[in-house]
């Protein structure tokens, strides 16, 4: 394999992301099923387990997105509660890890720790927690405390929440059926009492982290077991991988103690040409004419409803002084002026319409090809240190993963890149992680050696 040299090959981590509430999910396809019925979640989870995946992944929603002050209506809207679905999925799967996003800002750490420990018991050691942070007052309007947190403090809060959770998971019961006393005193979390869930099969459910900023990466290096990364382009993925793995030594951690798993998409075909055609078809489904305009508005930060999606790009510049037009999701474009200039140049050079341009510059599939090509590419992606595995986001609910499991996974199994059968029982074991959270091993705090 390319960059791997003489090192042993890394096992490829596979995860299945339930299609989310953005335009990656094609609801208008005749095959698209319910985003809410439990049968859809069960289908994807059973498919992933049939493919011997490491885990199933479910994101969380805390406020419906708005654009221009109105609820965003072009993508899938609405989803069920993360933990409730994961607990139900534990009843219809046996080995598959069950991971989900739970926001560290708008959940109480005591409740989070209790629910995750409960899920870990009820699933026999398969619970995972993707810690995200937010501080926006928009989301806060749905909660008792409102938008209470300074933007700059969101990772400090997240770190306190993670450390407090580990403190509770490690609390020692005073006797049979006697809840365990604990106390945690941090700047953002100052709690004490008794924790009524005894040590769960994993002891510490797996912690994933999704932050991409410098403090986000540092938090992951200090506290996370895995990173749900957004970098799927090989060059950027390798740079991210090297950067984050390079931070681990400071915390006394070996490089393979933190797994990096980017979100990825795919399109398969019997021939390379058919796969390319299928990929293009999916992209057109993902970017409807109306979606093209609203995506452009997210860069221009102004109302572009008067523009023709099949016409040229706007000649006005982005409005960088106005408040963000979109609320309820992270900003996707760091420098709107530069992005707009680049897109305009591209569209002019190749005579692209707004819709054609948006199709080209957003969300192209990570892996496109025949099953053999995709198996090669996935394995190479991992062995060349762009990642330790991938989180696959199908574009269709609920059957969007079927082809990958039926046609690509057997090829990956043949070459020994992924397991043929489950040989471990807990998610922590599936991922090849140490038996405890880095927070618990690093008892003296930052910079100390592994115990």
């Amino acid at each position: 394999m390319s960059a791997a040299g003489d090192r042993p090959r890394k096992p490829v981590i596979l995860a299945a992301h339930f299609p989310g509430v953005n335009n990656t999910t094609v609801w208008a396809d005749p095959e698209a099923g319910s985003q809410i019925d439990f049968s859809s979640f069960e289908h994807l989870a059973r498919t992933a387990e049939r493919g011997r995946f490491d885990f199933f992944f479910l994101a969380e929603g805390l406020r419906l997105r708005e654009q221009g002050g109105r609820i965003y209506d072009l993508d899938v809207v609405g989803r069920p509660d993360t933990m409730t679905v994961l607990s139900a999925l534990a009843a219809v799967t046996t080995h598959l890890g069950l991971a989900g996003t739970l926001n560290a800002t708008f959940h109480e750490p005591y409740e989070l720790a209790r629910q995750l420990a409960t899920l870990d018991h009820l699933s026999g050691g398969r619970a995972g927690w993707n810690v995200v942070t937010s501080s926006d007052a928009f989301t806060g309007e749905n909660f008792r405390r409102g938008g209470y947190l300074d933007h700059a403090d969101r990772y400090a809060r997240a770190e306190d929440v993670i450390r407090a959770a580990v403190r509770m998971w490690d609390a020692v019961p005073a006797g049979a059926d006697a809840p365990a006393p604990f106390a945690y005193a941090g700047r953002h979390v100052d709690i004490r009492g008794r924790f009524g869930v005894p040590r769960s099969p994993q002891r510490h459910p797996v912690v994933l982290q999704a932050g991409d900023s410098d403090p986000g990466r540092e938090l992951a290096a200090a506290t996370a077991d895995a990173i749900f990364s957004r970098h799927s382009r090989p060059d950027r993925a390798r740079a991210f991988y090297a950067d984050v793995k390079g931070r681990l030594a400071r915390y006394g951690r070996a490089p393979d103690e933190l797994k990096i798993i980017p979100a990825t998409t795919f399109a398969l075909g019997d021939t390379p040409g058919e796969a390319a055609e299928r990929a293009a078809h999916i992209r057109r489904q993902q970017v409807s004419p109306q979606t093209a305009i609203l995506q452009l508005e997210q860069v221009w930060n102004r109302d572009l409803s008067a523009y023709d999606p099949d016409g040229p790009l706007p000649d006005v510049d982005p409005d960088v002084s106005a408040p963000p037009i979109i609320q309820g999701r992270a900003r996707m474009w760091a420098d709107p002026m530069a992005t707009a200039a680049e897109w305009r140049a591209r569209a002019e050079a190749r005579h692209l319409s707004i819709r054609e341009l948006v199709i080209e510059v957003t969300g192209r599939q990570t892996f496109i090809g025949t099953p053999a090509q995709v198996a090669d590419a996935v394995d190479d992606f991992v062995q060349s240190d762009a990642a330790d595995g991938i989180i696959l986001i199908p574009h269709l609910t609920p059957a969007g993963l079927d082809d990958f499991v039926d046609r690509v996974v057997p090829l990956l199994q043949e070459r020994g890149a992924v397991r043929g059968e489950y040989e471990t029982t807990t998610l922590r074991e599936h991922l090849g992680l140490p038996p405890a959270s880095p927070v618990a091993r690093d008892r003296t705090g930052r910079g100390s050696a592994t115990a």
Binding site: W27, A28, I36, D37, F38, L62, R63, L64, R70, I71, D73, L74, D75, V76, V77, G78, R79, P80, D81, M83, T84, V85, S87, A88, A90, A91, F106, H107, E108, Y110, E111, Q115, T118, L119, H121, L122, S123, G124, E141, N142, F143, R144, G146, P173, D177, P179, V189, D190, I191, R192, G193, R194, F195, G196, V197, P198, S200, P289, Q290, T291
Partner: protein
């Protein structure tokens, strides 16, 4: 007549966690999904109308999160209503509404919610340095919490998802509604993140011993659990108090279903049941006294007692098994069969929602047709 069971891990008797059930070599483990699955499947087979799952915010004893237990058994059952305790004082109404709406989707319309306050100082300490509310404040907050949750359940009209190919719209946002709830201590904007649950409004049930709890039930619940002595006079007096609370609260629409709680120690003979009770008390080191009356006797005698309930003004009974693995099978297989012969036939009631089991109509969203 409604027949329910209150599940609390190994059982309600303080010694339940220290005794094994019949044929078992160790006590019921409340952190073993298989133990819950067996209990839920028993209740489903009977079928009981609903099971509640006990919980508190602060850990009085080792317990798993009740809503997650209910979700864990939902795919394994088809008929029984699933009603977890989810506390109100330190929890977020937005999360509570999402979790229970999701439970309703997963169970195809069998979800309910037993709200409970958390007024102890040790519970406030679990969420940080804040003063514990008084019981009165906690009940007032619970009234607000139930109202906020109910509004969130209505915040999506039933037909909000339109998948309109011509306009590219997944939802009709005019059928999604801000709830703009403003209570005594918190506000919630909405709409919910979860589309309207199958029942429209999952069933809300309150355990009430004190007037503020009666008031909470009268304002926000569909069903109230009460704990009188199981005899005509006491039950009728308690039912009258509930009706008075409804009048005081100005309740309109469906009256509260009044359900009496009864703790049960069952055995094939009356002497056997009394001996079981004595042995449990001996293990616990004290006589079992709880808020509900304790019945020790045969399933047949229990069925006879329960059959009198409707004549006393009760919609039904919720039984609290002393030891889950001993008493629940007798409740589900023997008592339920005696009261409702033939009900356990395969397929019976598999399509019923919990509301329809209770004779409650499916309400339209309060926002239906109100426009944007």
């Amino acid at each position: 007549m409604l027949l329910a069971a209150a599940l609390d891990g190994a059982g309600h008797h303080p010694a339940a966690g220290r005794v094994a059930g019949p044929g078992a070599d160790r006590p019921f483990d409340p952190f073993d999904a298989g133990a819950w699955a067996r209990a839920a499947v028993l209740a489903d087979r009977a079928p009981l109308d609903l099971v509640t799952v006990e919980d508190t915010f602060g850990a009085a004893r080792a317990r798993p999160d009740a809503a997650l237990v209910a979700a864990r058994v939902a795919p394994l059952t088809r008929r029984v209503g699933l009603v977890p305790v989810v506390t109100t004082t330190h929890t977020e109404p937005f999360h509570v509404a999402s979790a229970l709406a999701t439970l309703d989707h997963i169970s195809r319309g069998r979800a309910g919610w037993q709200p409970r306050i958390s007024a102890r100082a040790v519970e406030a300490d679990l969420v940080g340095a804040r003063p514990a509310p008084t019981a009165a404040e906690a009940f007032a907050d619970a009234v607000d919490g139930v109202e906020a949750v109910r509004r969130l359940w209505d915040s999506w009209e039933d037909d909000a998802i339109i998948k309109d190919l011509a306009t590219g719209r997944f939802v009709d946002r005019d059928r999604l509604h801000y709830v703009d709830f403003a209570g005594g201590t918190f506000t919630v904007k909405g709409p919910s993140i979860v589309p309207r649950p199958p029942q429209g409004q999952p069933v809300v049930a309150v355990l009430a011993h004190v007037p503020p709890a009666d008031d909470l039930a009268a304002r926000g619940a569909d069903l109230v659990f009460v704990t009188p002595e199981p005899e005509a006079g006491a039950v009728r007096r308690r039912a009258d108090e509930v009706r008075a609370a409804e009048a005081a609260a100005g309740r309109a629409g469906e009256p509260l279903r009044v359900v009496a709680d009864l703790a049960v120690v069952l055995d094939a003979t009356a002497g056997g049941a009394a001996a079981r009770r004595d042995r449990l008390d001996e293990v616990a080191g004290a006589e079992w006294r709880t808020d509900a009356a304790v019945f020790a006797g045969t399933p047949g005698d229990l069925a006879d007692l329960l059959a009198a309930g409707p004549g006393w003004g009760l919609a039904g009974w919720r039984l609290r098994p002393a030891v889950t693995e001993h008493d629940l099978p007798l409740v589900a297989d023997v008592v339920a069969a005696a009261l409702r012969p033939g009900a356990s036939d395969a397929g019976d009631g598999a399509d019923l929602t919990l509301r329809s089991r209770l004779g409650l109509p499916r309400p339209a969203s309060r926002y239906a047709g109100s426009g944007p």
